[in-house]
């Protein structure tokens, strides 16, 4: 048992971080505001780095790596606030041709129960080559044109365009119910990894600011009320990270635990950590935190978007409760 990152995993995380720093510096990511399509060059760079194919077998053009490797990669993508349907395209790579190579962007939707009143929303629709719908029967694949969709004008996350779906047609069943459950589970865990990266990024942003900003002739980080906000941010991020990593390893090593329980728990804690830390980051920045300039709000909005995609927190908690 060794629950530290292996040399391999650490090197991969490091390489991803460097890649994100050079290809996705925050100024560049922010330049995408208001655009309704994903930047094709950027997407290709992600594909070349193996973001979508790394868990595919080598014969299928992948790297044959595990979910633990994917988790550390997605953590870095979250930290850098990289936009686009990252997790959906990654988990779809085993089903949709061209997803692993970056030629196809894929959306993932969980079919809502009958009689719903709330709208179903899908991100990045104009860029998608396919949409996968998971439900009790299995995985359905639909061409985006088959969806009756209407663009939403003011999405919460300024870097992610949204569409509202009027209907979700049946579509061709491309994989069975077991695969559908696996896709959804992997989607939970890797989305949670994105969220953990975001939770850490804002914790660091707040801590740095607390060291620099001075009031009453001293750094605000010397005030205990601020210190404790920062300490709590670290605790939330580290606890969530441990749960995401444990969930990822449990997918790779099924005999060590219950991967769905671990995945739902990780999704729950990572959502909380990302949202709560982004809010605390705004607070630590004072008035600056309320400006468009400080990126805390971008993390908050992205965290809200990603965690919405995991279902209601109540439901995730119940999944854990049923499986304790």
């Amino acid at each position: 048992m060794d629950f530290e990152l292996s040399d391999d995993e650490a090197a991969l995380a490091e390489a991803m971080r460097r890649m994100c720093q050079s290809r996705f510096p925050l100024e560049r990511v922010r330049a995408g505001e208001g655009r309704r399509v994903v930047d094709a060059d950027q997407w290709r760079a992600l594909a070349e780095a193996g973001v979508f194919s790394l868990r595919l077998a080598e014969d299928d053009g992948g790297a044959g790596l595990g979910t633990a490797h994917a988790a550390v990669v997605f953590e870095e993508l979250g930290r850098a606030l990289v936009p686009g349907p990252l997790v959906a395209t990654h988990v779809a790579a085993r089903i949709v041709k061209g997803a692993g190579t970056g030629e196809q962007l894929v959306g993932l939707v969980h079919r809502p129960p009958m009689g719903r009143v709330l709208p179903v929303v899908v991100a990045d629709l104009a860029s998608l080559g396919a949409v996968l719908v998971v439900d009790e029967q299995g995985v359905h694949q639909l061409p985006p044109e088959a969806l009756e969709a209407e663009p939403i004008d003011h999405g919460l996350d300024p870097l992610t365009p949204l569409w509202r779906l009027a209907t979700i047609p049946e579509g061709a069943v491309v994989a069975d119910a077991g695969t559908a459950r696996e896709l959804w589970r992997d989607h939970l865990v890797l989305s949670a990894a994105l969220l953990v990266g975001m939770a850490s990024a804002v914790a660091e942003l707040a801590t740095e600011y607390a060291k620099q900003r001075r009031q009453f002739d001293r750094p605000i980080g010397s005030f205990q009320a601020v210190k404790h906000l920062c300490a709590d941010m670290l605790v939330r991020a580290e606890t969530a990270r441990a749960s995401v990593h444990a969930a990822a390893v449990t997918i790779d090593q099924p005999d060590v635990g219950d991967a769905l329980r671990a995945g739902a728990g990780a999704a729950l804690l990572a959502s909380d950590a990302a949202v709560a830390n982004a809010k605390a980051c705004i607070q630590v920045h004072g008035g600056m935190g309320f400006t468009w300039e400080v990126p805390a709000h971008l993390y908050l909005m992205r965290a809200a978007l990603v965690s919405r995609g995991l279902g209601r927190a109540q439901r995730l908690a119940e999944v854990v409760a049923e499986r304790l």
């Binding site: 629950f3 404790h228 300490a231 670290l234 749960s243 444990a246 090593q253 728990g265 729950l268 854990v320």
Partner: protein, 395 residues
């Protein structure tokens, strides 16, 4: 990242499990928590059994009589003991987890020879005399004074919150030996025999109604200089060295026990019908997810200790998160009991299905309040995290 145990670790587990399976049924019933002499007898008898089976001082080096187990084996050990519902370390806590490790690292060969076997065999019980009425979180402000007189130190002052002082043979005592320079520099570590003349022990009643800890009044107590561990005025460093001996496993037993508790709460909620309430199910699920996460964090801390031999800073993160989680878990237990949560006496369920287990859940509940105070309060943990991990300036 690898969560599978190696073959060697599994072999260790199997041997331990077999021994526990044979041994646990031979233990008598646990004594009343209010009967200290009986508790001492029970806890030390268990320690002796561990010793005879080669499981005493699991993490202590082999050259001082320990098992020299790896950090991961230590984790397996805690897992198996919890699984088998083995007795808790109890009155052996300070000896095995604090005073003993201090002597292992800082003691002279004679001191190791003199003190360590008694701890391992359960012959000697230690208590911890650190806190004072005016020195709690600010431990270095302690004032109990020791003055050198020939081959002895003469100690006067008072200590407080000393757990199981009444049944201890020795006290690991921090005393002031100098007022010069920074207050940390004038502290000395002594092993004080509890039967020395001049020690007055006055039990304090806790909110749980027990005498878990006591106040010690020391009036001219003579402690041989030979009982000093480390140099005079170097006691603060000596104490900190021990803290770094800790591999982040201190609360693992209780964490695993909490996982079992969450299962019990679910069972209780099903019995009472509270499980119909989605909010209750969500609360149980959330606590379960948090416990799972902390189990991950514990394994991470242990893995770090195994790799670097230096425990990570994760210990404070774990202590803070777990103690607060334990309180919420305990609160859910009290909530689920409804009106039965108002009685310390064991109550039967209305439907004739037997005892509700309210006394035990209330015990968990009331004791959970000490978790965020003892061994460094939550506020102090946050200060440590902010200053030592995040590098925020001292204020």
């Amino acid at each position: 990242m690898d969560l599978r145990y190696s073959e060697a670790e599994e072999t260790f587990r199997a041997g331990l499990r077999a021994w526990l399976t044979d041994t646990i049924p031979t233990l008598g019933a646990a004594p009343s928590p209010h009967d200290w002499p009986a508790r001492r007898a029970y806890d030390t008898a268990w320690q002796r059994m561990l010793y005879d089976a080669g499981y005493a001082g699991i993490d202590w080096p082999a050259e001082v009589g320990g098992r020299g187990a790896s950090p991961v084996e230590q984790l397996v050990y805690l897992e198996e003991l919890e699984r088998a519902h083995a007795p808790y370390v109890g009155v052996n806590f300070v000896g095995l987890l604090h005073a003993g490790p201090t002597i292992v690292v800082e003691g002279t060969p004679e001191q190791r020879e003199r003190f360590l076997p008694g701890i391992l065999k359960g012959d000697a019980v230690w208590c911890q005399g650190f806190s004072e009425p005016d020195a709690g979180s600010d431990l270095a402000a302690l004032r109990t004074r020791a003055v050198r007189d020939g081959d002895d130190y003469v100690v006067s002052g008072s200590k407080i919150w000393t757990s199981h002082a009444e049944v201890a043979d020795y006290c690991e005592l921090l005393v002031r030996t100098s007022d010069e320079g920074p207050k940390q520099r004038g502290i000395t570590w002594l092993a004080m025999p509890m039967d020395a003349p001049g020690i007055d022990i006055r039990p304090l009643r806790t909110i749980a109604g027990s005498n878990e800890f006591a106040e010690l009044f020391l009036d001219g107590v003579r402690v041989p200089v030979a009982n000093r561990v480390g140099e005079e005025n170097d006691g603060w460093r000596v104490t900190m060295v021990t803290l770094s001996f800790e591999r982040g496993t201190a609360f693992v037993g209780e964490l695993l026990q909490s996982m079992e508790l969450v299962g019990e709460l679910r069972a209780l909620a099903r019995r009472t019908g509270a499980w119909e309430d989605a909010a209750v199910r969500a609360q149980v699920g959330r606590l379960g997810a948090e416990l799972d996460a902390l189990w991950g964090l514990a394994r991470r801390n242990v893995s770090q200790a195994a790799r670097t031999d230096v425990p990570g800073v994760g210990g404070s993160v774990f202590k803070l998160a777990f103690s607060e989680l334990r309180q919420r878990l305990a609160q859910l237990g009290q909530d689920l009991l409804g009106a039965a949560g108002l009685s310390w006496g064991e109550l039967e369920a209305d439907d004739g299905s037997g005892p509700l287990g309210n006394a035990r859940l209330l015990d968990v509940w009331i004791n959970s309040f000490s978790r965020t105070i003892a061994a460094g309060t939550s506020q102090i943990q946050r200060n440590i995290i902010a200053e030592r991990i995040l590098g925020l300036p001292k204020g």
